[in-house]
């Protein structure tokens, strides 16, 4: 069930595909295909290649360096990126803080930060969650106290993805303790190289270091780095959450992973044939493929609605829930597929350039860690339970 495209869109798709094929460095492609750990330089190199082509931020307005692509074209672009095994473009700058700066930032902020995000000169991270706060974001306690033209920021953030690479962090901080918890929050842009900031990597159960605690010990931040009004940060944060759209469904990635799963299933022996021919396993793959098709159909419908000027509602929560369920299921079936070879854990085998003989098939080395790591998908960014609460309230009015 390929998407039927107009000839213009088909030509667009073909251009994108050719460009990516030619431009993606082979070493990066190989790491992504094998599920190996990417280094900061891998992400940055790829981002800069797209930037040079003018494709780093297709969804941005043209005036800031975006494109005039239609929503469908943007969707096709995302799909091609995934199909070609490119590294994720980190969303923290491009699709999280940038829209907030565009909507609520002042001229100086726009002029300074947006080009640096576009070119990946700054690596951004997100300072929302706090130890002990979890999904109850509004109960945050990291404090910003005015001091001359600065704030003094103290407190701690946690689950901060790739903070170890970051040059900048956008933070929700408490600037007032009056009224409802939501009303005393401001939105600050903080230089990660400021004195008083400590980053402590959190080892996750898959053995990786992807998330961090970030501690703020009397960190001095210019008030000029506050976006919008003081104590209005909650509004900007909600805008940001509402801004995340169809990308959250990760259709392109899931389709690519399904292709990889089929490769594994075809390679694994089962009975007299391959696992791909095993009725029970083939049935599970079919269910998953149909789930992906259904979710993709919903994404395409939303994309079409957007193109027709209809604003999507709380569908983003559906996309988040189903998208993460699908991703987790993909990782689960891959785990199932490799049988006993899920057991070996050779940390070095997850890094590029490891030269020892592999244990089991080459594709098996990262499967179990990937499965463990992806349990996060239904937790981070608002647990799937929270997403269902949102749908119950916003859509169903319960």
């Amino acid at each position: 069930m390929e998407i039927t495209l107009s000839s213009a869109d088909a030509a667009f798709q073909s251009d994108v595909r050719s460009f990516i094929e030619a431009a993606l460095p082979g070493d990066i492609k190989s790491k992504v295909e094998l599920g190996q750990h990417l280094e900061k330089d891998d992400y940055v190199r790829w981002h800069k290649i797209l930037h040079t082509k003018g494709w780093a931020a297709p969804a941005w307005p043209v005036e800031y360096g975006g494109t005039d692509w239609t929503p469908l074209q943007r969707h096709l672009f995302e799909e091609e990126l995934a199909r070609a095994s490119t590294p994720r473009l980190m969303p923290f700058g491009l699709s999280m803080v940038a829209p907030v700066i565009m909507a609520f930032g002042d001229a100086a902020q726009k002029q300074h930060f947006l080009p640096r995000i576009l070119s990946c000169e700054d690596w951004w991270c997100q300072g929302y969650s706090e130890p002990g706060a979890g999904s109850d974001l509004a109960s945050l306690t990291t404090k910003a106290v005015p001091d001359g033209t600065d704030y003094i920021v103290s407190g701690a953030k946690t689950w901060t993805t790739l903070a170890q690479y970051a040059d900048m962090i956008f933070c929700l901080v408490r600037t007032s303790s009056e009224g409802k918890p939501q009303t005393g929050i401001s939105f600050l842009l903080i230089d990660m190289h400021s004195p008083g900031i400590t980053v402590r990597p959190i080892r996750t159960m898959d053995g990786g270091y992807e998330v961090n605690d970030v501690f703020f010990d009397e960190v001095r931040v210019p008030q000029a780095n506050r976006v919008g009004e003081e104590n209005k940060g909650w509004t900007y944060a909600k805008f940001l959450l509402g801004h995340e759209r169809t990308g959250i469904a990760a259709i392109g990635r899931s389709k690519q992973e399904l292709r990889q799963l089929k490769v594994i299933a075809a390679a694994e022996a089962a009975g007299d044939g391959s696992l791909a021919e095993d009725g029970a396993f083939a049935g599970k793959m079919a269910d998953l493929e149909i789930d992906i098709l259904a979710l993709e159909s919903l994404v395409l419908k939303i994309v079409a609605d957007e193109a027709a000027g209809r604003t999507p509602g709380a569908e983003a929560s559906i996309l988040k829930i189903r998208g993460t369920e699908i991703q987790q299921r993909l990782s689960e079936l891959a785990l199932e597929a490799i049988g006993y070879y899920a057991n070996p854990y050779i940390a070095e085998a997850q890094e590029a350039g490891w030269n020892e003989p592999p244990v089991g098939p080459e594709y098996a080395a990262t499967v179990a860690p990937h499965y463990f790591n992806w349990r996060k998908a239904s937790i981070y960014g608002g647990t799937n339970e929270i997403q269902k609460n949102i749908i119950a309230k916003m859509v169903l009015g319960l």
Partner: protein
């Protein structure tokens, strides 16, 4: 992106809903369902006037043309109100078979009456031991003079007793299970040797066992090429699947609305039960299942015109699997969330649930279509 509705289709949808809202409250529907035909011939005539029966019939034969998407819109509307009229059996299957297999001469003779509401058809393709395999045709059409002699048993033929003609699959060559050698014949329902055991169905409709005991057809009653009907039948059934998937979309939406209203109004322990988080999440699951089903069904409806039959089959089977799983979830949860009230025959709820349940049994269930999907190459 052709599977979102055009403005015209949205208008069409509204007109369907406005008709059914007037004509199909629970009491009227029950009365119709208990009548002899199990539906209203007056409604059928009205459908013809509104042009609904002309959908899918070429303009040359007095129809309005239109796409599978239009048909899906109509069926979704019918599902919203549990319409009883035999649109699926007579138009989607009967009309579909004519469109795909009939000669121009046959079309000229039949389609105007069909689109005008004067002719009702039934489609007899299933057999007692065939389960969902369309090639398992054991009914025999034996050549005899200038015609054929039909012998066999066609099972659960929807709305056979009210049909004027029944389109029957029968084997002119090969053995049970062979795709080659199946032919389609146009049979007078009232002809000698055509024995009907008619009965109500669980969902308030009608069907019949059709036993053919040397029923005679002429060579002019052959539809399409002799022995080549398997692909036609498969294409007709694929359309029928899209039709019932769209109907299921309408049914699910109604069930969800009923359940939402019930959660709002019903109080226990002093508060509306819709305040209980577990029940909220159950309704959210139903809502999500419906949204996903709807998107996929309309996409499959758009794909049904695809020239490539494997692409069509993949899309159709994907939709049937999705609807099968969603339908079971939505139907069962709707009953559960209504508590004891869900069990009574007093609410229309149970009728919707029963129809949704029966859709799973038609044209191949979830297991059947999962397997068909898995066996088809990606396009």
């Amino acid at each position: 992106m052709e599977f979102t509705l055009s403005d015209e289709q949205v208008l069409f949808q509204e007109s369907v809903e406005s008709f059914t809202a007037k004509q199909y409250d629970a009491d009227k529907r029950r009365a119709l369902s208990e009548s002899e035909d199990g539906f209203s011939r007056a409604h059928w005539a009205h459908f013809a006037e509104l042009g609904w029966l002309g959908l899918g019939i070429e303009e040359a034969h007095g129809g309005l043309g239109g796409t599978a998407l239009d048909m899906a819109v109509l069926m979704e509307g019918f599902g919203r109100a549990l319409v009883l009229e035999p649109y699926l059996s007579s138009m989607v299957m009967g009309g579909g078979a004519l469109e795909l297999a009939a000669s121009e001469k046959q079309k000229s003779a039949l389609l105007p009456a069909l689109g005008g509401g004067a002719l009702l058809l039934a489609f007899a393709f299933a057999e007692p031991r065939a389960r969902y395999d369309l090639a398992k045709v054991a009914t025999i059409a034996e050549k005899c003079g200038g015609g054929y002699l039909l012998r066999g048993h066609k099972s659960v033929v929807l709305h056979a007793a009210s049909a004027d003609k029944i389109i029957v699959s029968a084997r002119t060559a090969g053995g049970v299970g062979d795709k080659a050698g199946i032919s389609l014949f146009l049979l007078e329902r009232a002809a000698p040797g055509v024995n009907l055991q008619s009965y109500p169905t669980v969902d308030g409709g009608r069907a019949a066992e059709v036993v053919l005991d040397e029923a005679v057809v002429t060579e002019y009653d052959l539809l399409g090429q002799e022995g080549q009907a398997h692909a036609i039948i498969e294409a007709v059934i694929d359309r029928a699947i899209i039709a019932v998937c769209a109907e299921a979309i309408g049914i699910m939406q109604t069930l969800i609305e009923m359940t939402r209203a019930y959660l709002d109004n019903r109080k226990q322990f002093g508060i509306p039960i819709g305040k209980f988080q577990v029940l909220q999440h159950q309704l959210v699951d139903m809502y999500m299942a419906h949204e996903l089903s709807k998107a996929l069904t309309y996409r499959a409806a758009a794909a049904i015109a695809s020239a490539e039959s494997a692409a069509r089959a993949r899309a159709v089977s994907a939709a049937k699997v999705q609807i099968g799983k969603a339908g079971s979830l939505v139907g069962q949860q709707a009953i559960q969330l209504h508590g004891g009230m869900g069990m009574t025959d007093e609410l229309p709820l149970g009728q919707y649930f029963k129809r949704l349940t029966m859709i799973e049994t038609l044209f191949g269930n979830t297991d059947h279509h999962r397997r068909r999907f898995a066996a088809l190459p990606e396009t």
